[in-house]
Amino acid sequence: MTAPETGLFSSFLLIVISAAFTDNILLARFLGMCSCLGVSKKVDTSIGLGAAVTFVTASTAALNYLVYTYILRPLGIEYLKLIVFIVVIAAFTQIVEMLIERISEGLYNALGIFLPLITVNCAILGSSLFMLNKPYSFLQAFGFGLGCGFGWFLAISLIGGIREKINESVVPKGLEGPGITLIIIGIMALAFVGFSGMIKV
């Protein structure tokens, strides 16, 4: 009797890992680049933003899955998914920001201030849209969102660490700031392309 459950769990895990590594949303699909360039100057802010994105991506993927399956599809208005997903994400981040502010000030200072930044982050919208390409169940959709968010978290933390190091060394004037960061992201993307095709889900 335990076999189907481990099967469920392993497929869930596989989806998380493939979304995080082989299809890294930041490095393989280049989504969520604006907030990544803006906030990745330091490791701790990168981690803060990354954690917020992970949380929001996972929750909104689940939420949008429900909205899509139980509202949009029965009504036959799947073509509205883009605009509906955007407003759902925006409202969700707003409410979560208020909740966090009320519940824990420490958490709010660590995560909450990033929430308005990611209301319109395309990585989050992207993962909600991409999950519809595959016939996922609810749990798998949640796993896909979690994996996308975790991949983004991983990528921005790495970039943050590299940028902290780069700040200490001399960079040609014309390449300072976003310029060198984009080059670094490009090289990292090459590395992540090496994962592609390793897992087929």
Binding site: I77, V87, M98
Partner: protein, 367 residues
Amino acid sequence: MIASILLSVGFLSACGVVLAFLIVLAERKILNYGPCTIDINDGERRLTVQGGSSLLSNLAEQQIFIPSACGGRGSCAYCKLRILDGAGAIGPVEQPHLTPEDRKEGRRLSCQVKVRSDLKIEIPKHLFSVKRYLGRAARKRPLTYDIVELTIDLVEPREMEFVAGQYVQLESPEYKGRESVMRAYSISSVPSARNRIQLMVRLVPNGICTTWVFEHLKEGQSLHLSGPYGEFHLSDTDAPILFIAGGSGMAPIWSMLQDMEEKGIRRKATYFFGAVTQKDLFLVDELKAMEQRLDWFTFVPALSNEPPGSGWSGERGLITEVLARHVPDTSAHEAYLCGSPGMIDAAIAVLKKGGMPESRIFYDKFA
């Protein structure tokens, strides 16, 4: 066709309404902290406010004006207050503005601290008399090519009580795409004239507020200001005074000198007025007349870069050099400085070298 258009429009509208309703509801339920009490200066005043917004805006609603130049965005750090209890954790916006000393004494940016529970705070006494004024620009008189004397009639409230040396914050409205800002200017008029104050405004290239005063503000136009602020004023001692100021830094000194004359204070005082060339000098006739009239007052204008042979018979050189020549021993004096940070730091070094303890040097730096 029509049905699907109606369906999608209807669905999107319903979606918007439901989500907006949810957010409003959440705002009401989640961010409602209920009434909070703000205890000021250990029970001296108690305010009951609705929690949820920043301390700075709550205080402003209760007519207590804390200096703030950036409008609550956490970039100017003028609005620091001691919060003894209830402030919560230090936010990331505040981090860079708080020195280790601030942290130890519980000083916070009041624009970033939200009122979430009962607070105990300390507000310097002099801020209680700060009010926001509606005024009218009565006169703009050029003093030099880049300094004007701005005379403001106070309309509502009609009178301001201040001490010579204090400053006001002038609010420039939005113009030509420049944002509305507040900038500090020392009052140059006497405290006894309560209905009409004067400021000396120097044109800062590209300065938002100064450009507004120079180019857009017309005589007769209404404006807003708040004040009085600041703890730069004459002490109660009898020590001889050294005033050192250049350019528009004269404003608080000019107010103090007129105030001393009016009140019959006969402390020995010397005013070192530093300027670059003769065209930077102003109010020289008035100050010379004052020197003639009052036996306790000496006026020393000095030019640092006047071309030789221009007919200037007064002192030459940097104001700090002139000061060191005139008063080599400063140990018995008190000094009042107003001007740029560079000038003030140089003057402090010279004064300390002459034997003056730092506790007797008072200054008003403008950044």
